[in-house]
């Protein structure tokens, strides 16, 4: 069961953002280049731009930012814009029953 070439998986290539498949190395590069917030990391790497809009990965990125000296208080909250879940465009249009304004 034991084997000497275990752990060959390089942690750097671990995917952090599962939707856009952004690796740890890519996020670390953005941070080393001065990205200090979730939004800055997102713009530099696309992490958090996919179908889940960062719901799954953002806490891991917050931890990486914190390790780089940025407290979660400043770094931790992504800008959230509607829709908070993917929605068909026809539902945005409001259809027949739309009554806002």
């Amino acid at each position: 069961m034991d084997s000497p070439d275990l752990g060959k998986g390089r942690p750097d290539s671990t995917v952090i953002c599962r939707c856009e498949e952004i690796t740890l190395a890519e996020i670390m590069e953005a941070i080393s280049r001065g990205a200090r917030t979730l939004d800055a990391v997102k713009r530099q790497t696309r992490a958090g731009m996919g179908m889940c809009q960062g719901r799954t990965c953002h806490q891991a990125i917050v931890r990486l930012l914190a390790a780089a000296g940025r407290g979660p208080e400043q770094a931790g909250r992504p800008s959230i814009r509607p829709p908070v879940r993917p929605v068909l465009l026809e539902a945005l249009d409001g259809g027949e029953g739309a009554s806002t304004e």
Partner: protein, 417 residues
Amino acid sequence: MRVDLAVVGAGPAGLSAAVAAREKGINVIVIDEGLEPGGRLLSQVHVDPSKPVTERIWIGRTVASSLVRRAEKLGVRLMMATTVWGLFRSGELWSVMLNSGGPSEVLARAVLIATGSAEQPLPVPGWTLPGVITAGAAQVMVNQWRVRPGHRAFIVGMDPLAFATVHGLTMAGVRVLGIANPPPGVPAGDQGVPREVLGRLADLSHLAPSVLMRLGGPVSRSRAVARLACALYVRPVLRVWGAAVMLRHAVVEVEGDAEVSHVVLSPQRPDGTVAGGIRQRVPVDTVCLAGGLAPLTELAAVAGCKFTYLPELGGHVPLHGPFGQTTLPGIFVAGNVTGVESAPVVAEQGGLAGQAIGLLLNGESRDTVEAATAAAGVRVCRARDQASLRFLPGVVEGRRAMEHAWKRGHWDGVTAP
């Protein structure tokens, strides 16, 4: 469609709130994207041997069914399989935007956000392989879908949800080989540090008294003792429901081609670093990641609620007052969205918020509402004291800090439209 109160989330908080608000005579709708009402209750089963015999087994679905029956009997409308994608102010009302085939929005005088929490990531190398699921997903699969995710499972991360998952999988006939720490390093936080883990096990000792009590009980009393115990503790001989509890090992990688085939374990030092020793490859077809929970606050954010950062409650949470009122008139929060706690506490919180919203919408004064909800407040605290599961060790301090933050912000005037 126009209602008095729209509740987003049909979990223990949302359903309890809906019942309490409806009892005050107001018109309530509950919206949830799940296929049936109950939220996470539907997948929760706990055994607490420290409780009296009649209370030892706690089945979430039973709790959910009774809440749903009460809600339906009172005339609460339940709108399932419906996703809320936005929350916008619409004059004096709130537009709750829906993606269902039915109405595209609900106009409400008040909205209760009871969206619960989300599992946090544990990015182990290989965690994207099919067969790697979250601890919560494992419970949904075996307890709600009634489908085994595989035959041989390994759990990564040691927290209440992880041990509940060991139990749930075992009950469903899945062989759980072991439970170990996540890989050390930043993405997983301190969840991969054995001495931090050991300190937290105290909160779980009642769930598996025979083993964890012996270890976690005395150890929990001080951090220094925990550190010492961790240094002394070497051999992974503990078993919980047949699964090896590997306190000093980390899963450093998940292997597989098209799907999971092995986990790779490495021994750890007490500070979490991987010791040089021999690695083990354990053949498994299922890996469950227990990364902990954090409030799911997106809707409060898009509505425009102010937030405050309280790690004791799970991170950034909407600033809220004693009834769950937020910094926006008409928007309320209850349940895990305000801080992660177990279902019985959450249900009491929901009840309090629902009662308060009902009274406020009926035009009662703030003082009246405060007096009327005093008993509910006591019930919340009692539920917290008696909780079998405590997800966040500092939750009481966190709640207190929120009270202060609310008062400091002078938000007391905010109630309902």
